[in-house]
């Protein structure tokens, strides 16, 4: 336990010297806004950021963090001050169904955590059932109940919707739907299948950009089956001492109806306009706020991402080397302890990266620190293992020769063992470094930046160019790291071992 804390502290120490964070001590008070890794959330984050900025506040937007729990924990840990959440998500996912999804109950539950909740922004993003408008009109279908009269309609739902108890199985029971041959398919493919006439009915989110694009009708949930997913702003209680900000939150309440949200999603998702521009336009039109935040250009983004990515890789790798080398030496000296160290570091490898990142948010917050600690933990195994095997595979005769010369243990380690094991040790560090370059892209999920940032944005916007903006530099960096270590091997591995 204390070892883990020690590692964390070490990493943080290195971190504070290596990273130049945007939030420096003693600067003007600022508001940090967060958003989830899908387009609507990022747009709403930009809307909030633009609105807050119009009050003169210094605003930072930690965009596209990896999921509700990441945002929630970041808010609790005071890493962010506000983000847009959905009432259904709060009740079901964050409070695990223990709290009703009506606003009064949620307000009480959230207040108990030291947080505040705004009135609904206007729109709701719920599960919905949709059809092409022209097909629905032709059949006269307006509500989900109407579907029961058309058992011949072909239904197709996304995999998650098919399986979740609160989705299709429950929906079918509530409305006594007679349809049997229901297909499961990818959400994006469902729209194309609708257009091609292979499907008539599918599930969607009520603010999907495609609703406009494909001209879909959302069938009325006339038996109130789907839970309420109304958008609200969650924010820290401290913001209340800032009247201008509270005023902005109040003005945002009720200001975004479903049509506006669908339109903004379409502008970003389908017309590929930067979220910042989409949000600025909305603020101008709806609140009369002259928002002037600008979307970063390609060069700036690449430079920032490169710095962030290198920071993550270098700091985590340096810390891992400092910790893993001694651990590897220890493991080679004490075989029983060695087996324990190797299985412990091995178990760390099996923790899925997103789980580890989320796990690290409560103690470390969001951004670079948890990402660095996760990368550090993942780097331990290859270095420890290669150090231990490198040291234990030195022929016994050589160690005896060193002992017979009268060389003390410490000198034997530095002058004989480590040089002899230098090649496998370096190979272990190289493996860790190359894996780090790849894994560091996941840091974007918790706001650590790096090449994962454009990859995430590209995935949610279905924009290949953006994905490549992160994937290509990451691949180039991996190759560069590989090359650098090959060069380093010539410098570090003694010439006598390369003959």
């Amino acid at each position: 336990m204390s070892a883990r804390v020690g590692c964390g502290a070490l990493t943080l120490m290195l971190l504070s010297s290596a990273c130049t964070s945007g939030e420096s001590a003693g600067a003007a008070p600022g508001v940090v806004v967060g958003s989830k890794a899908f387009t609507e959330s990022v747009i709403l984050g930009e809307v909030m950021a633009g609105a807050f900025a119009s009050t003169g506040a210094r605003v930072e937007h930690r965009r596209q963090l990896g999921g509700s729990l990441v945002l929630w924990n970041a808010l609790l840990a005071d890493e962010i001050d506000a983000y847009v959440e959905y009432t259904g998500t709060l009740g079901e996912e964050i409070f695990g169904g223990r709290v009703a999804t009506d606003l009064a109950a949620l307000r009480q539950a959230v207040t108990a955590e030291g947080l505040r909740i705004s009135a609904p922004l206007g729109f709701a993003n719920t599960y919905a059932i949709g059809m092409l408008r022209q097909v629905a009109d032709a059949l006269g279908i307006e509500t989900i109940s109407d579907l029961a009269s058309y058992p011949e309609l072909q239904l197709g739902f996304s995999e998650g919707f098919m399986q979740r108890q609160d989705a299709w199985p429950g929906l079918r029971a509530r409305y006594s739907l007679p349809h049997r041959d229901v297909r499961g398919l990818n959400h994006d493919l469902a729209y194309r299948a609708l257009e091609a006439g292979e499907l008539e009915v599918t599930d969607l989110y009520s603010t999907d950009a495609e609703i406009r694009h494909y001209d879909l009708r959302i069938l009325t949930d006339d038996r109130d089956y789907f839970p309420d997913y109304r958008a609200v702003i969650l924010y820290r209680a401290e913001l209340e001492s800032w009247p201008a900000v509270v005023d902005v939150i109040e003005r945002l309440q009720g200001s975004i109806d479903t049509a506006s949200m669908v339109e903004m999603n379409a502008a970003s998702q389908i017309e590929r306009q930067p979220e910042t521009d989409v949000a600025n336009r909305f603020l101008q039109r709806q609140l009369g706020v002259a928002a002037d935040r600008v979307a970063a250009g390609f060069g700036d983004r690449l430079w920032d991402n490169t710095l962030d990515h290198l920071g993550l890789v270098i700091v985590s790798l340096a810390a891992a080397i400092l910790v893993a080398l001694p651990l590897g030496m220890l493991a080679s000296r004490r075989p029983r302890l060695g087996r324990f160290v190797l299985s412990a570091t091995g178990i760390l490898q099996t923790i899925p990266s997103l789980a580890l990142l989320v796990f690290l948010i409560p103690p470390l917050g969001i951004g670079a620190p948890p990402a660095i600690v996760a990368l550090f933990l993942y780097s331990l195994l290859p270095i420890v293992r290669n150090t231990a095997t490198g040291l234990t595979s030195i022929p016994r005769g050589l160690l005896e020769s060193a002992d017979a010369l009268g060389l003390p243990r410490g000198a034997r380690l530095w002058r004989v063992e480590l040089p002899l094991a230098s090649r496998p040790i370096l190979a272990g560090i190289k493996t860790a470094a190359v894996i780090n370059v790849g894994t560091a892209t996941l840091g974007a999920l918790i706001g650590a930046g790096g090449y994962g940032q454009p990859i995430l944005a590209g995935i949610r916007l279905n924009n290949t160019a953006l994905i490549l903006e992160g994937a290509i530099p990451a691949a180039v960096l991996a190759l560069f790291v590989q090359g650098a270590f090959d060069l380093l091997e010539r410098l570090i591995v003694p010439r006598g071992l390369r003959l």
Binding site: S401, V416, L499
Partner: protein, 248 residues
């Protein structure tokens, strides 16, 4: 100079060396000989403290060898093993001077000692810059010998130094070893399984079998007056091998 007082050593259930008394006088060249597994290597490793005895003690120059003084005592003993045991990451010169550099010798003193040793071992010039991987077996053994002699030890221990070499190089190096030992007048302990070697080089031969000393004698006495029924056929077999090797 070196003395085993009732020293014994077991590995698990196997007794490698029964309680043994042995005195190795100063400036004498002693050969330990016997079939493989007879305990001669164990005895040698007890002498330089790579092993400690289960019972009894090992004394160096009257001082009992313990874990706390063994490092200092080892620096007064040179040690050469079968394949040289050279560190592959260090050049020949760095192998030889490793300990001297560790002990902080001045470079002038190191260079001077290196020259003396190169002359003593008749090392071909230019070999000092090479790495072990670039040396032949005989060259590696000369370097290993230089490394063992670097700190001017009072005792030199050799564990089958010639075993891995081909016959031509072996007789060449054997010749040189004898000359070097005579000149240095150090105490030498040589482990071998080849009787011809000690007869040629050693002042006295310690014949061992199954963890016990069978006979201590000069080489020629061993051949002319074998002590018992083990020594006799051992000597005969060795002489037979020797004669076939010579005629072949």
């Amino acid at each position: 100079m070196l003395e085993l007082k009732g020293a014994s050593k077991s590995f698990g259930d196997t007794v490698a060396l029964h309680a043994t008394e042995l005195r190795l006088p100063q400036s004498q060249i002693t050969a330990l000989i016997g079939p493989s597994g007879c305990g001669k290597s164990t005895l040698l490793r007890l002498l330089n403290g790579l092993l400690f005895p289960d019972t009894g003690e090992v004394c160096f120059d009257g001082e009992r060898m313990t874990a706390s003084n063994v490092q200092a005592l080892r620096r007064r003993m040179g040690y050469v093993i079968q394949d040289g045991g050279l560190f592959p990451h260090l050049s020949a010169a760095d192998n030889i001077t490793l300990m001297a550099r560790f002990l902080g010798w001045e470079s002038a003193r190191i260079d001077q000692r290196l020259d003396e040793l190169a002359q003593l071992t008749r090392l071909r010039p230019g070999l000092l810059e090479r790495f072990p991987a670039e040396l032949s077996g005989g060259q590696a053994q000369r370097i290993s010998l230089m490394r063992a002699l670097m700190l001017e030890p009072e005792v030199l221990l050799l564990d089958e130094p010639l075993a891995a070499l081909d016959p031509m190089i072996r007789s060449d190096l054997q010749e040189d070893l004898r000359a070097i030992f005579r000149r240095l007048e150090t105490t030498v302990v040589l482990v071998t399984h080849d009787l011809a070697e000690p007869v040629y080089i050693a002042d006295s031969v310690v014949l061992m079998r199954a963890g016990k000393i069978e006979q201590v004698a000069t080489g020629s006495d061993l051949i002319s007056a074998p002590a018992n029924d083990f020594v006799r056929p051992f000597v005969r077999a060795q002489r037979y091998l020797q004669s076939t090797e010579d005629s072949g």
